[in-house]
Structure formats: C-alpha cells, structure tokens
C-alpha cells in the first residue's frame, strides 16, 4: 500500500511537470503548425534563470515569476525574428530551425552555468517532509501534485471562457477562417509562441527544486513530451493532460515493476498507440 501510494504520487508529480511542457508544445503545434524542438530548452532555461534570480533576490517565488517571463520574452524574439520567416516552408525546415535553436540554447546554458549539477532549494514552507505511512514523503512533490491540476484548470478556463482563449482555439481549428473573421494572426502567433515558452519555463522553474539542474535536463523532457503530444493527439489539450499522466505513472510504476526495462516503456507505448490509434487518444482524424 505504501509503495503503491508513493509510486502514485511520484508518477503524478512527474506527470504534472510533463503536462505543463506538453500543453505548451501542443498549443504551439495546434496554432502555428510548428513542432518546437527547442521547447525542452525553454524548460531548462526556466529552471536555470530561476536559480540565477535566486542568487540575486533570495526568494523562490520571485524566481518562479520573473524567470519564466524572461523566457516568454525570448519566445517573442525567436518567433518574430526566426520562425516567422519559414511558416510557408516545408515542415522539415521548421523542425530543423527549432533544432538549431535547441543546439544554440543548450550549449549557451552549458557555457554560462557550466556542465555540472546545480541544486535549487525549495522555499521554506514547501521544504522538508511529512509523515507518510511508516516513512516520510517530500512536501514539494505533494505541492507539484496539487499545483499541476490547478494550473491545468486555470489554462482550461482560459481556453474556454476568455475571448483570447477562444481566439487561440479558433485559430488552431482553422487558421485561414480565423484570419478571415478579423483575427490578427501574426500577433496571435507571437502571443501563442511566447505563451508556450512561458509555460515551459514555468514547468522548469517548478521542476528546479524537484530535480538537480544539468544541461541535459531539457533533452530528457523534450523526448517524453513529444511522446505525450503524439499519443494524446497533436494539438489536443485534454490529450496532453491524459498523455502526461499516463507517461508519468508509467515512469514511476515502470521503475518499480520493470526495473531497467522501464526506459523502453514510453517508446513501446508510443508504438502501440500509433498502431491502433494513429491520431492519438484525442486527436482528430488526419
């Protein structure tokens, strides 16, 4: 019972981080039609910037607010200066451009903060552990399990009840029609890309006290969130949620039951989903 509950919580906390990354990735894909390889780098930048800001102002909360905003700003620059030039190009060029951005950002992080590990302390309220059956459990992970669905709910309300959210969904369904009814699509693209980058960085900042920071942290999460987005259905919000939870749980329970073979499980899941439901759980027919 105890192991089960611990695995469940571990899986949920990792799943929630995955969800924050995947929802940005899937929204950007849905609206801009670009699958962003550099999304994991934004996640990593969010974590590192949070750490850097905490060196100046020793507060986690300042870091988690300011860091992602800076990354959102970087998103604006990247969309306006680079991505915008290749929307009409073949999809492989978009993939390659974001890949080149990934190379640039990942190595920049390595240059600035070095190749070693860094640790970010959780804020005092969330540090430490609580009693958990016969043992203890870190409070910060519980915080992630709670904050994840809250952010998800906030995003869902944003997409469904606000004018901006509806505009984003409209553009995802039919870009040309959206332009036809007077939505300023170029502005929308910039906003959506910046929003996606901000979300990824927020995930990174939230992940910072949870895992140690290293230049490879973006690489791991981008592959897993690609899998989330593909099995959930590309461009689908509920798909990102379901996929992220599934993958998070697969990670924790897989490690407990399958041992070393666990690393292969996400890819086997990907293969099975693609065989039997190629458009993903919530994807539209293509």
């Amino acid at each position: 019972m105890e192991t089960f509950a611990a695995n469940l919580l571990n899986g949920l906390s990792w799943g929630m981080l995955l969800f924050l990354i995947s929802v940005g990735l899937t929204t950007v894909f849905g609206v801009l039609g670009v699958l962003n390889f550099a999304h994991g780098s934004f996640f990593m930048l969010g974590a590192y910037l949070c750490m850097q800001i905490m060196h100046i102002v020793p507060s986690f909360w300042v870091g988690i607010i300011v860091g992602p905003l800076l990354v959102g700003g970087l998103g604006v620059v990247i969309e306006k200066m680079l991505l915008r030039k290749i929307y009409d190009r073949d999809i492989s060029f978009q993939l390659l451009l974001t890949f080149a951005i990934l190379l640039f950002l990942d190595d920049s992080v390595r240059l600035i903060w070095g190749p070693g590990y860094h640790v970010v302390e959780a804020p005092a309220i969330l540090a430490g552990t609580i009693p958990f059956f016969d043992h203890t459990y870190p409070i910060y992970r519980l915080f992630l399990v709670v904050i994840g669905p809250l952010i998800g709910l906030a995003l869902w309300s944003f997409f469904h009840f606000t004018r901006w959210g509806k505009v984003v969904r409209a553009a995802a369904v039919d870009r040309e029609m959206a332009e036809g009814v007077g939505i300023r699509v170029p502005l929308l693209f910039t906003a959506v890309f910046a929003f996606g980058s901000w979300l990824a960085a927020l995930g990174g900042a939230l992940a910072a006290p949870h895992q140690s920071l290293a230049p490879a942290m973006g690489e791991r999460i981008i592959i897993e969130s690609f899998i989330v987005v593909v099995i959930g259905g590309m461009g689908s919000f509920p798909g990102a949620f379901a996929g992220a939870l599934l993958l998070g749980l697969l990670d924790s329970f897989g490690t407990a039951f399958a041992g070393r073979a666990q690393m292969a499980l996400p890819f086997i899941l990907l293969a099975v989903v693609l065989l039997f439901r190629p458009q993903g759980f919530f994807g539209r027919e293509t």
Binding site: L103, L105, M234, L270
Partner: protein
C-alpha cells in the same frame, strides 16, 4: 538526349576526379587529418543513406542512428566472437540493420511528415534504450570494445586496419561501392518513383503505385546502408556504444544534409566535411562548439534552404545559362 548524355559524362568525370583526390589523400595528408577525413567519409556516407529517405523520398527520419548502431553492434559482436572475415562482419552489420529497418519501417511508413519524424525518433530511442540496458549482450552504457580488429587478407597479402592509412583506404573502397549503389538506385526507375512519392503521393497512388511499399523499400535500403556506415564506424572507433544510437546522433546526418544540400547527390557528404572541419576549427578555440553550429545553421535554414553545395551549384548553373 544529347544534353543528358553530356551531364552524365560530366558527372562521370567529376566522380572520377573526386575519387582520385580521395584515393590520393593518404599520401598527402598528415595522419591527424587523415583520421578526420576517415570520419568525414563514413559519416558522409551515413548522411547520404539518410538522404535517400529525406531528399529523394521526402521523409524526414530522426531515428537513423538506431540502424547505424545496430550495424555497429552486429559488427562488434561478430568480431568479439572471433569471426575474422571483414566481408562477413560488414555484411552482418548490413543485414542486422536491414532487418531492424524492415520491421520498424513497416510501422513508420504508415504516417508521414511530422508524425513520421516523431515515430522514427521514438523507435530510434527504443533501440538506444535496448542497447543501453541489455547489458549481457551490449555491455550497457560502456559499449562493446573491440580488442582485436581483423586484418585485411587478400590473396596471401595482409595489412592491419590499425594503420590509419589502411583503415582509410578500406573505408573508402567499401563506401565507394555503397555510393555507386546509391547512385544507380537514384538514377533507376525506382529512384524516379521515390521522387514521385516525395512530390505527389496521391497522384502516384492514382496511377497504381503502392506508396507504402515504395516508402518501406526506401526505408529498408536507407537503414541497411546506415548499418554499413555503423559497422565501419565501429571498426574505425574500435568500439560500439549506445551513444551511436542516441537521437542527438540521429540529428547529425540531418544537419549535414541540410548544410550540404538535400537536392544534390553529394550534398550530404559535403555537409559532413563542413561539419567536421568546423568542429575541428572551433573546438581549438572553445569547448562549446554547438553554439556556433546552431548559429551557423539558423541562417542556412532560413536563407539557403538548398544548402551550401546546393546554392553553389544553383549559382553555377544560372551563370552558365545566361
């Protein structure tokens, strides 16, 4: 007709010239640069095999390193088990990779565009995790070291592949055969069908071609040739490691092809040369050469979608016409 004959003769001459220069390299270049040149031709060939899929068939695979690695491991395993025939060893690499590509390709070619890229990325990483975790066979993250590398034995004459010059000449001759095969393939009716799949698969399906089968064939051949490159690379490095299969390794042929130009037969190999020469020049100054690679790639993708060699060829052609 006369025009195409002229192009063919022109190309034949250029091929011969290129081969002659490459064959003369061991007598001119210092050993250090010869070793780099060996890496360039092996990775260049890997990139050319990838381009059969990308440039000719229009499928962007992010998992080719998986097949490259399967070739490397098959080669390494055979050598560890005491097989001494290089022909047999490299054939095993090709066959292993062919088989892997056939099975994985069967699942992958159902989808195209971005989905294809993601699926191949996933399967490539699946192969990587297998190599990483099946410690009994693959040696886990340490990989398989090759303690002895078989010598070339030809009609009672024997040379060691530990000599970088012979390693280079051996790679060059194997790769030349592979390149000839690729050249024949892309100029054959089948090559034209590949281009047709890339340009308009619906129309091709209309006239009765089986698009999935064509793609699968292309995928399998590209995988098998990647396996050959992997086998050579294992011999060259004296080891096979899981890193050969990681997706960052899969991205190398992609980058090389884009740098050189996917529309030109030798574009990917040209890109490989630029890649490694840049790496050499920049790593002399700083460890973080990926920043420069990224900064170099961004304008190429945006302003020179035909790649460097592709843009040069285009300029030469335009000048000739005017």
């Amino acid at each position: 007709m006369t025009n195409s004959a002229k192009i063919l003769r022109n190309n034949g001459f250029l091929f011969f010239l290129l081969f002659a220069i490459l064959a003369a390299a061991p007598f001119i270049l210092p050993i250090y640069w010869l070793i780099i040149l060996t890496e360039i031709i092996i990775m260049g060939f890997f990139a050319m095999s990838f381009n059969l899929l990308f440039g000719f068939t229009g499928l962007l695979s992010f998992g080719q390193a998986g097949f490259f690695g399967v070739g490397a491991y098959c080669t390494a395993l055979l050598i560890q088990n005491g097989i001494e025939s290089l022909t047999l060893i490299l054939s095993a690499g090709i066959l292993g990779a062919l088989l892997a590509a056939l099975i994985i390709g069967f699942l992958c070619v159902k989808r195209d565009e971005i989905y294809f890229s993601m699926i191949t990325l996933g399967f490539g990483m699946m192969l990587y995790t297998i190599a990483h975790n099946w410690i009994g066979v693959t040696g886990g993250s340490d990989g398989l070291p090759l303690c002895t590398i078989p010598a070339i034995k030809l009609m009672g004459w024997e040379v060691s592949l530990y000599d970088p010059r012979w390693m280079y000449l051996f790679s060059l001759s194997v790769i030349s055969l592979g390149v000839l095969l690729l050249w024949r393939l892309t100029r054959s009716p089948f090559g034209l069908i590949l281009t047709a799949v890339r340009e308009n698969k619906e129309r091709l399906a209309f006239v009765g071609a089986n698009v999935r089968w064509v793609r699968l064939t292309s995928f399998t051949i590209a995988g098998g040739l990647a396996g050959l490159a992997g086998g050579l690379f294992a011999l060259f490095n004296c080891m096979a490691t899981p890193d050969f299969m990681h997706w960052s390794f899969s991205s190398r042929p992609v980058l090389m092809t884009v740098m050189g130009g996917s529309g030109i037969f030798f574009g990917p190999a040209f890109g490989a040369a630029i890649f490694f020469i840049l790496e050499q020049l920049i790593t002399n100054v700083t460890e973080n050469w990926m920043i420069f690679l990224g900064a170099f790639l961004i304008p190429i993708v945006i302003f020179f979608p035909r790649g460097i060699l592709g843009t040069i060829v285009e300029l030469v052609k335009r000048r000739r016409e005017s």
